[in-house]
């Protein structure tokens, strides 16, 4: 028994040592602030007003460089989406969705002549990309390729917390850090700055370089619901919107999960009762 206990104690001690070891070796980016999102937790839901504000930030700021090619306009009117309205269960009929789609032009082939044409988008179309191809995108962005935003909130460790931290986290580079042309210092960006750092080698600044300049400005977007458009507010809203874009079925998933859990717990309880009854007179 004593031996068993000592093994358990040793294991626990080892685990505690690992847990306590800070992941703050030189060069690692800062940990993004954990934000209390409306969609967190088992009963989380998107805040529709926030998604609408976030869409506006995406539309007016991000979409000039970032594509979102996996999302269709009709998705905006799907259940859980920013412009869902229960009067329009088929999101293709949703007038807000139709109006938004009409603002965009998409490429098509004229069915009469076969010529390449441009036409206003419909709700069935996907969001058109700002650049025709990767080379064009790089040419316009100093060699950097703005990542597609459809899945961004799932494609980065930290998700929406990380996106919020990046767009609000720009800092003036510390003295001794050589920032190249077209580069910006961001302590939340993954990277290793040791090669650009002329200061104390034990204290390389956290983070990395990012080609995107600080995208959000105070009051840069006017929210239709009167919310004050601080940089933090815009960052929160666009991060929430991008989480929706990456995981549009999040609400449906969590709601289904709740029903499944209740079912499974009752089912397990019933089986346990049967087990007790069946084994009642049998030793084991």
């Amino acid at each position: 028994m004593l031996r068993k206990l000592s093994v358990i104690a040793a294991v626990a001690g080892l685990m505690a040592a690992f847990a306590a070891a800070p992941a703050l070796a030189a060069g690692h980016p800062l940990e993004p602030e954990k934000i209390h999102w409306s969609f967190n937790g088992p009963f989380g839901k998107f805040d529709q007003a926030q998604l609408q504000r976030g869409y506006k930030v995406y539309r007016e700021v991000c979409s000039s460089c970032h594509s979102m090619k996996l999302v269709s306009f009709r998705n905006l009117g799907d259940k859980g989406g920013p412009f869902y309205n229960e009067k329009y269960p088929n999101s293709n009929d949703n007038p807000w969705v139709k109006a938004i789609a009409k603002e965009f032009e998409v490429g098509d082939i004229d069915s009469e002549t076969g010529d390449a044409i441009k036409r206003p988008a419909t709700s069935a179309d996907r969001f058109p990309s700002p650049f025709p191809n990767e080379a064009a995108a790089r040419a316009s962005n100093g060699g950097a390729f703005p990542p597609d935003m459809s899945l961004l909130a799932k494609a980065r460790t930290g998700g929406p917390d990380y996106i919020h931290a990046i767009v609000t986290g720009y800092k003036n580079p510390p003295a001794g850090l050589k920032v190249g042309p077209g580069q910006h210092y961001n302590p939340y960006m993954p990277g290793d700055l040791a090669a650009y750092w002329s200061g104390d080698h034990a204290h390389v600044p956290p983070g990395g370089f990012i080609a995107m300049a600080q995208p959000l400005t105070e009051g840069g977007v006017t929210f239709d619901d009167g919310t004050k458009a601080t940089v933090d507010q815009q960052a929160r809203d666009v991060s929430a919107f991008l989480m929706w874009a990456a995981e549009p079925k999040l609400e449906e998933r969590k709601q289904t999960g709740f029903a499944v859990m209740i079912y499974l717990i009752l089912f397990a309880g019933l089986l346990y009762a049967s087990y007790r009854k069946v084994w009642k007179n049998e030793s084991h």
């Binding site: 080892l14 040592a17 800070p22 799932k154 079925k249 289904t256 859990m261 499974l264 397990a268």
Partner: protein
């Protein structure tokens, strides 16, 4: 355990069928009347849980294939099409992706149970080896399945793993080219992985049938490791084992559902939501969690070929296990020293898993800058993984063979029923009727 059948056809149709294809008899003998040791604990429910996992993976997988496009240009988008446009596609895909992890959780518990209770010992060697074959097929299937979404981790994981074969002398490069179907991981690779990912699960199902067949020939082991001697030692499979397995399965499903509905991406890697790009290598390529211990063994060895051999050797040890363990006592319940080494083995495997997920040169204890010995920084994950790998191999190749010859074991009970009937909850060591020392 395959005694003579007690199946009695009841209806005219059953009698007619029984004379032509005794399939109902087979089912009855295997899953109703089949005698199971009465003292099986919950560790024995994972066989049933694993069949549930296999069935779930097959069903969700077949549905996914209806919507998936195996092409380097369309695979990533087709997975997102499943997630966004297919009715309940998100549920099917999350069940399949997390189902793989659940399958491995269950198989690791199942294997450790076998290891602890000596379920690989005579006459169950073939049963154990068939299980190892299933595990090997599972690893191949899981690896190829992870490549199919064609994300960054899929692609670069495939590059790293296929390149391992390149370490073999002379034939290595030809083998990798043959595996790739070209000179790099590309469309041809994706298509053959897709084909094999569809084939291997059915091979698993086939070996599972052999595994169950072998099980029904030699009978189940049990926590005492003593073979059932009389009818008092066993109970019919139905309802006793079925209801217990059913309860365990439903509890396991609660864990499964927690991941599917609330943590669907917790076991995955964010980089796999970025489409594969051969020109951009992720900063940190890591396999799925269930491969991490082997990945750590691979990286623990400085030489590539030796690392690959060590990794495959780690799996080969499992196949040889029935002949490596020399103990005459089957269950570690009566082998206190072996039990201690077993616990350390489990901890070593967990440490290897942790090391596999970390950068090799990162410090284990951040508070201490270095702990150098010669030119080796012992406070690094690569050194931790070296110590843990050493223990992994020592456990199979030194501890189990030697310990069986020298250890002092506790008295083993005469039969399952005698201690179980007289002291249902008591420790078996005290409950033995006729103590006998083995060693």
């Amino acid at each position: 355990m395959s005694g003579h059948s007690t199946y009695q056809p009841k209806t005219g149709f059953e009698r007619w069928l029984d004379a032509r294809l005794p399939i109902v008899r087979l089912g009855y003998d295997s899953f109703v009347d089949y005698p199971t040791p009465r003292n099986l604990n919950y560790w024995w429910t994972f066989g049933g849980i694993l069949s549930l996992c296999l069935a779930s993976q097959l069903i969700t997988g077949i549905i996914l294939v209806m919507h998936y496009t195996p092409s380097a240009d369309h695979a990533f988008a087709s997975v997102e099409h499943i997630m966004r446009d297919v009715n309940y596609g998100w549920l099917i895909r999350y069940m399949h992706a997390n189902g793989a992890s659940m399958f491995f959780i269950a198989v690791y518990v199942h294997m450790l149970r076998g290891l602890y209770y000596g379920s690989y010992k005579a006459p169950r060697e073939v049963l154990w080896i068939l299980g190892c074959v299933i595990y090997l097929l599972m690893m191949a299937t899981a690896f190829m399945g992870y490549v199919l979404p064609w994300g960054q981790m899929s692609f670069h994981g495939a590059v790293v793993i296929t390149n391992l074969f390149g370490a073999l002398p002379i034939v290595g490069p030809s083998i990798t080219t043959w595996l790739w179907g070209g000179f790099a991981v590309d469309n041809a690779t994706l298509n053959r992985f897709f084909s094999l990912h569809y084939l291997l699960p059915f091979m698993i199902a086939g070996v599972v049938i052999l595994h169950i067949w072998a099980l029904h020939v030699v009978g189940q082991n049990n926590p005492t490791g003593v073979e059932p001697k009389s009818k008092a030692d066993t109970l019919p499979f139905t309802p006793y084992a079925t209801v217990k397995d059913g309860f365990a399965m439903s509890v396991f499903l609660i864990l499964f559902a927690t991941f599917v509905f609330y943590l669907p991406n917790a076991l995955g890697h964010a980089d796999n939501y970025v489409e594969a790009n051969p020109l951009v290598t992720p900063a940190h390529i890591v396999p799925e969690w269930y491969f991490l211990p082997f990945y750590a063994i691979l990286r623990a060895v400085p030489d590539k070929l030796m690392g690959v051999l060590a990794m495959f050797g780690a799996i080969a040890c499992l196949f040889a296990l029935p002949w490596l363990d020399t103990s005459k006592v089957r269950s570690m319940r009566y082998r206190p020293t072996a039990k201690l080494y077993f616990i350390i083995f489990v901890v070593a495997c967990c440490i290897l898993g942790l090391c596999g997920a970390k950068l090799p040169d990162d410090p284990v204890l951040g508070h201490f800058k270095t702990f150098t010995l010669g030119d080796a920084d012992l406070n690094s994950f690569v050194w931790l993984s070296r110590f843990a790998s050493l223990y992994y191999f020592a456990f199979f190749l030194v501890i189990l063979p030697v310990l069986g010859l020298v250890e002092k074991t506790l008295p083993v009970p005469d039969s399952i029923a005698s201690p179980a009937l007289s002291h249902p909850a008591a420790a078996p060591a005290e409950a033995t009727a006729a103590p006998e020392m083995k060693g």
